[in-house]
């Protein structure tokens, strides 16, 4: 009995001391929060090696650089600013600090470039009797060109919406699919729409995810294909209008459509954002979002900083004054062969 009791006491004591602690041993102090954020990005952000090379910074050096801006008595607002500055070095729209004070962000991918979109002008082309199929707005222009606007991949589109739209537009000579200003949303919506523009299974890219804390610990890239829809598919030329605000799922949609034979991508370079985001948090309680799973194009190249169009086009302000959207007009010319 004594031996059994001794064994139980030793076993339970050993067990209780083996209980694991959280990943962070950082205090809720300015330095503790900066260290926690730095470590989070160091271990989990999926573009660190790529961005260090492309943007010319060293993540290790940034820890010291921004630690020097801290002091123990600084306010929450000041700490927020320092942490946001550190994250801004990544130039990633999927990286944010979310607090009750503000949303920390770097939107230079769209703010540093011409918008190439005038929504009032776009509305003129749609008119007032356009159709609305969930997130899709569409009409037929006078030269028998279908004009479709999709403003956000967060707006769900069902197979029924797409089939009804394709049926309505089937006698048109071509389609302008305008996703300018589309900041992303659900990848499933992007995939569902892509499937209407191919008759064959098409390799559109690759995707992987982090398997460990090392900067280059990634899973084997998984090939991504777009398979033809079993419903009505579009068989005529398409011009996909894009601008710098096409981000995240919209960027992935452009990546997919670039591989379709009848599609011409026209406009400005897209905004990018090819990492699937994850959420985490800091000891102070602020939420942090970051890119966790990278996707690539069909040639295994990064599309994090955007995708070049097939045909460059921009919004002509002088033409806009006369009520014309130069990008839509360029697309119409391409489709009608004028």
């Amino acid at each position: 009995m004594k031996k059994l009791s001794a064994f139980l006491i030793i076993f339970i004591s050993a067990f209780l001391t083996s209980c694991q602690q959280g990943d962070f041993s950082y205090d809720d102090t300015p330095q503790g929060n900066l260290d926690a954020l730095w470590t989070l990005i160091d271990e989990r952000y999926c573009f660190l090696s790529y961005k260090e090379k492309e943007l010319g910074f060293s993540w290790a050096d940034l820890r010291a650089k921004y630690s020097a801006k801290l002091n123990p008595k600084m306010s929450r607002v000041q700490l927020f600013e320092v942490l946001c500055q550190m994250l801004s070095e990544l130039k990633d729209g999927h990286v944010n600090i979310s607090t009750s004070l503000d949303l920390g962000r770097n939107w230079s991918w769209k703010e540093d470039y011409p918008e190439n979109l005038d929504t009032e002008l776009r509305q003129r082309y749609l008119g007032t009797d356009y159709h609305i199929g969930s997130g899709l707005k569409y009409t037929i222009l006078p030269d028998n060109i279908a004009y479709v606007v999709y403003e956000s991949f967060s707006d769900a589109i069902g197979e029924g919406n797409l089939s009804d739209m394709m049926s309505f537009l089937q006698l048109c000579n071509g389609m302008i699919l305008d996703i300018r200003g589309n900041g992303g949303g659900e990848l499933t919506n992007a995939e569902r729409l892509s499937r209407r523009f191919t008759n064959e299974k098409v390799l559109v890219g690759y995707m992987s995810y982090k398997t460990g804390k090392g900067h280059d610990d990634f899973s084997e890239p998984r090939a991504e294909y777009v398979e033809p829809s079993e419903h009505i598919r579009w068989q005529k030329p398409v011009v996909l209008l894009v601008n710098r605000s096409c981000y995240s799922a919209a960027n992935t949609f452009v990546r997919n459509m670039k591989e379709m034979p009848l599609v011409t991508v026209m406009g400005d370079q897209t905004g990018g954002g090819s990492g699937l985001p994850f959420s985490s948090e800091l000891p102070i309680g602020w939420s942090v979002r970051f890119s966790a799973s990278p996707s690539y194009d069909a040639r295994m190249q990064h599309v994090e900083f955007g995708i070049e169009p097939d045909v460059k086009a921009s919004l002509d302000e002088s033409l806009a004054a006369s009520g014309k959207d130069s990008m839509i007009e360029a697309a119409r010319k391409l489709l009608t062969g004028q």
Partner: protein, 282 residues
Amino acid sequence: MSNSKWFASLEGGRCGLLLSLLFLSASLLAQTEYEVVPDRAPSSRAFLLGIGRTNQLDTYLSPMEYTGLQVSFLLQGERMTRLAHRHISFQSTFHGVFTSTENPAATAKYWGGRLAYDAGWHYHYSPLKNLDLKGGAMIGADVGFLYNDRNGNNPAQGQFSIDLSLSAGAGYSWSLWKLPMQASYQADLPMLGMMFRPEFGESYYEISQRGVGHDLVCAHPGNALSLRQFLTLDFCLRRVTLRIGYLCDIRQSNAHSLKYHDISHSFMFGIVRHFQLTRIRK
């Protein structure tokens, strides 16, 4: 172990309502040359409710430890079998847990739930008159979830595991002011199993595309050191057997560079019913 020791409260005569009915039926049937005989050893069923504190960590969702409230229920049945000259008992446990915890800064919450079923067999040995020692094995399955009310793209974690555990315990019976009482302790230590754990940065989208096959991990004390300890005291009040107890449930894993733990301490209380199946013999 004798049945009389195992069910000390029955032996006390205060909770033996069913036993009395058994004798009454037997005497009535004896007049028509039938008799009622025990068919199986006595068994017990316990239904307990619990309330306590829990500490949760799931680094797929957050690197911070969340703490808060846990409420639970526990259904536990136990009976002696005919195996090894009635020295082996069968125990089944159904445990349901609901948790609500928050991060240290109180800016985010976890909502969690878990259902676990365990079936075990114990060999009993009585070195002393009122002391019962037991040891054996259990097999069990767990399903659950943990939901973070703030995360956008990774808001929840699913939990699934099956395991084989070593189990040991002890029971001691005595009387206090002529009231039969029994104290019991049992510890279950998972030794081998299978658990679902996503890879380090694997998104739901990737899990849905690649399947969960590569997310099933062999669980053993090296990567999933867990332990459940249950200390109870049974006592009778009038004709009811009451049970109070302390349940310490420590579940941990460290796989795919992701840490998980759920460490809970609960006060349990409820009732125990003892009964015996019978058959009629001509």
